[in-house]
Symmetry: C2
Subunit: 198 residues, 2 copies
DNA sequence: ACTTTTGAATAAAGTACAATATTCTAATAT
DNA sequence: ATATTAGAATATTGTACTTTATTCAAAAGT
């Protein structure tokens, strides 16, 4: 069992009444008294624990999860104009954010795509960016989508105009793709977010 | 449920002998036999479990975590050119990705900032984007950083030139900021990623 | 008076056990 | 012959209990 490195917490100096007055025991040391014993909250988590059954394959992972404080919720600040004086960090604090929660609304229907090419540069989609794609969203006109065309994955903006379906790049050096045979195109999902490394 | 494909192997050398021959019990049904009993892997997780102690405040959260299959690792595809034929999804599969792992290398030193303004538009940083900021990285020349100037948070590219420190916007409509009094500027951290909604 | 030793008190942590759930088959009933 | 039922077998699951760790303070030593 791991030894707890936490420094001793000075407990309340409870007014202890010495037992020597009446029933002092001549033999042995120590003795009954209030305040003795290991203080609560000295465990590895600083709070009570309870045994819970977990699948063996996940125990390590869960222990990690618990050790790192659970959901990876980190503070979110905003650039909003502050009071005017040099303001503490709290003045900008908007709350806290978990990336998976924020970016993945439908975990079972979401996947990522790494971008190659620059055909969508004007939409803020660069080479090597990671796209968050949700296949549970309906691919409507105007949405940025991931489509498989002849077995090739592409990112484009979907256009439906006068009965025709087109895949529009957002880069002047590329031409729109007219989807003649709708059956040859499979839409994998709708892009919801772009993750870009600076 | 799934039946064990292995046929019941009699553990003891003697094959199961029907008890009726000699010491038939007139009363009672069923009886000893191999293969009886609840099959393994029928539990709520389909695998053995073990009791583990968890802090009470996290039990609900952990149960959620376990129920949703642990780390939110989702598939990552690439747009790389495939074999030429209409290819299955697997041909594009690069692996799987957990956003927190990918974006947050130093959880204790990372925070997020929501962008206002368009002064960094050429760096792909748009209004309302979320920036991933790591304060454990050293703010070197050329890095995009978050700085507090007179209590106001700003995103700019850090420049050190001939002894001067400057904060460079990436938008022609904005002018560089010369940091005259270095003490009035506090660098909060280095921007590692931009998260943009399409 | 100060330090060290020792046992009591009590929380933490791990595990064994009892209760429950599920499935199989022999015995019984139809 | 087929369907039903009761009991046996065995995995699952929750929790009680044992073991371990830590702290307090009286007693003993210096």
């Amino acid at each position: 069992m791991k030894k707890n490195p936490v420094s001793p917490i000075p407990l309340n100096p409870a007014p202890f009444k010495n037992a020597s007055s009446a029933d002092a025991k001549a033999s042995g040391r120590g003795g009954a008294r209030p305040g003795a014993g290991r203080p609560a909250g000295q465990g590895q988590y600083g709070e009570p624990t309870k045994p819970v059954r977990l699948p063996v394959s996940m125990i390590d992972e869960v222990m990690d999860y618990v050790a790192t404080g659970g959901r990876q919720s980190l503070p979110l600040f905003s650039c909003a104009v502050a009071a005017g004086f040099p303001s503490p960090a709290d003045d900008h604090l908007e709350g806290s954010l978990d990336l998976n929660d924020y970016l993945v609304k439908h975990p079972a229907a979401t996947f990522f795509v790494r971008v190659s090419g620059d055909s969508m540069i004007k939409a803020g989609i660069h080479e090597n960016d990671i796209l968050v794609v949700d296949r549970s969203l309906e691919p409507r006109h105007g949405k940025v989508i991931i489509a498989a065309l002849d077995g090739q994955l592409t990112v484009k903006r979907l256009h439906h105009k006068s009965g025709k379906t087109m895949l529009m790049p957002e880069n002047d050096r590329y031409a729109p793709i007219v989807v003649s045979d709708e059956a040859s195109m499979v839409i994998w999902g709708v892009v919801t977010n772009v993750i870009h490394s600076v």
